[in-house]
Amino acid sequence: MTNTSPVTKADKARLEAESRNATKAQLYEFWYYFSQNKGAVVGLIVFSLLVLMAVFAPLVAPHNPDIQYRDSFLVPPVWEEGGKAAFLLGTDAVGRDMLSRLIFGARFSLFIGVVVVSIALVGGVVLGLIAGYVRGTVDTFIMRIMDIILAFPSLLLALVLVAILGPGLINAMIAIALVLQPHFVRLTRAAVMSERSRDYVIAAKVAGAGHFRLMFKTILPNCVAPLIVQATLSFSNAILDAAALGFLGMGAQPPTPEWGTMLAEAREFILRAWWVVTFPGLAILITVLAINLVGDGLRDALDPKLKRS
């Protein structure tokens, strides 16, 4: 009996090494399937560039986004007649450099995405775990509330919430997070319900794991794949909705260089200066498209059903 302890220790080390190797193999497998999707790789590259651009905006941007050059109102892009080399993508109606504003705008859009998804994900996962694990009245209560949120079109509910909270970027983010949350709750709940009667969960229960441990350490890690895909989709939805709120005057307020707000300011020049309207929208489209491409790739790589087909 006395010599069991060193064996256990060796076993433990071996098991740990095996689990490390398994994780490594899983990552390799994930990357293999992800990289099969060329669009997803392109999306990832574009997204990484956007992140770099946002982080290093003060270094990359040729001008300060808020400075108004009073001799240069509505200067067209450099390749158009009348364009100036100092303003590659032209200037807006009060003489601010479009390119610099777009570069700084990336900060807002990505920030919105990160904050909204974090709030919606954490809230949604906790509620979904509780609903799926506890079941009964608690489950019914949580799910009915989610049904109520889903009964409204997301943009309308966000608009109304912003009317209550007051217009502004932070309030818009809270509103969008609340509206996107039910999707995470539903996904987590469904995943938890299919996992909770599995052998490994019952084994953990028999071994004496408490409810908290069972929910967060045993079950949750096995429900992560669909949540990652949903988080990516929500990231792009958050950017679109925030831009829409900005466009309707209920999101970020001028002179913030948020892309949707820039579009709202540019609307009256739509038939006179195409560039003030075209570029902010193009920036939104490229960002959202890149994220959706990554989302598609993630879904392909994480969904075992699709892998086999």
């Binding site: 669009g39 009915r144 509330i145 049904d147 109520i148 889903l150 009964a151 409204f152 079109p153 997301s154 943009l155 309308l156 608009l159 109304v160 009317a163 209550i164 007051g166 792009s236 679109l240 831009a243 829409a244 466009f247 309707l248 005057g249 209920m250 949707g260 579009l263 609307r267 739509i270 038939l271 195409w274 309207v277 075209t278 902010p280 929208g281 939104i284 489209l285 959202v288 498209l289 959706n292 491409l293 598609d296 087909s309």
Partner: protein, 335 residues
């Protein structure tokens, strides 16, 4: 089947009351009380304010106000608009056909283009054509539609001058509108050129509103078709020598359409949210623009009523889709 139907209805009742609670709380959660907003800068005397509050029932306890509110809903009373002094329900009914017409055109466009595009991509899986169709669909799915609308206005209304910028029909035409659907009314009026003008006004908004549903339907149709095309019965149909058109059209499509029908039903919410943006861009006099305008001029009874009615429509359509789904697919009914 009845059990299934009643089960679904039973689920809807608590949601409906939840929705009324949201709409009810909305006005009470706003900063300041509605009368201050109504009185505006000029202010209002305290006696007059108390009198008006009592008249509107705001002096009663909250639970009592809620019961009165729900009772009012069942009698069709959704409050009165501050701006127009008309009942909210009447305003909604006048404006709803405009949104319905736009949404119907958009969904027809989305279905007529989306399903064939999805089938085509699935049949040509992996080819350049498939990649092109799905790439376009993903761009459509990622499109900020308010910007897309502005771009189309720049191109078709500004540069090419093919379509008008805003409204439902040219101001030259004036005729009674018994149905509220401009396409039908303009035909009924018999005025020369009226129908064409209505169509020209409808084209761009429909395209803009159809963009996201079209992309979603195309993607969903493709993946549903791919799943079905791998099934044994499709292989059997091929093996027994049926022509490809009948294998795809008869055997595969009918089964692939089941999830697609659900997706189409779910687009109602997308369409109504999209209508808010599309109607704002094209000055389309429907409920989306009405709600945005009401929020910005703080006409909160309109927003409250609009919230409730729109949620009601979405819930009703979802119920119909659920029931239809149960009818098509018995497996759902008995689960």
């Amino acid at each position: 089947m009845f059990r299934f139907l009643f089960g679904r209805l039973g689920l809807l009742i608590p949601t409906f009351f939840g929705v009324t609670l949201v709409a009810f709380s909305f006005i009470r959660l706003l900063p300041g009380d509605p009368l201050d907003l109504l009185a505006g800068e000029r202010g209002i005397s305290p006696e007059r304010k108390a009198q008006l509050l009592a008249q509107m029932g705001f002096d009663k306890p909250l639970w009592r106000q809620y019961i009165d509110y729900v009772a009012g809903i069942f009698q069709g009373d959704l409050g009165t608009s501050f701006a127009s002094k008309k009942p909210v329900l009447d305003e909604f009914m006048t404006l709803f056909p405009a949104t319905a017409e736009l949404a119907l055109c958009a969904i027809i466009l989305a279905v007529c283009l989306g399903i064939p595009a999805g089938i085509f991509a699935a049949v040509k899986r992996g080819s350049i054509a498939d990649q092109a169709v799905m790439g376009t669909a993903l761009i459509g799915y990622s499109m900020p539609i308010f910007w897309w609308g502005l771009l189309l206005i720049i191109l078709f209304s500004g540069i090419l001058q093919w379509t008008p910028v805003s409204g439902r029909i040219s101001l030259l035409y004036f005729f009674p509108q018994p149905t509220g659907f401009m396409l039908i009314d303009s035909l009924l009026s018999g005025e020369k050129g009226a129908f064409l003008s209505a169509v020209r006004h409808l084209i761009l908004p429909s395209i803009v509103l159809a963009t996201i549903p079209l992309a979603v339907i195309a993607r969903q149709t493709r993946s549903a078709m791919l799943e079905v095309l791998g099934e044994d019965y499709v292989r059997t149909a091929r093996a027994k020598g049926l022509p490809p058109s009948s294998v795809i059209g008869l055997h595969a499509l009918r089964n692939a359409l089941i999830p697609v029908v659900t997706t189409i039903g779910l687009q109602v919410g997308v369409l109504l949210a999209g209508a808010i943006l599309t109607e704002t861009i094209f000055s389309w006099p429907g409920i989306g623009k009405w709600l945005v305008d009401s929020i910005s001029r703080r006409d909160y009874f309109v927003v409250q009523g609009g919230l409730l009615l729109i949620a009601g429509i979405i819930m009703l359509v979802n119920l119909i889709v659920d029931v239809l789904y149960g009818l098509i697919n018995p497996r759902i009914r008995y689960n």
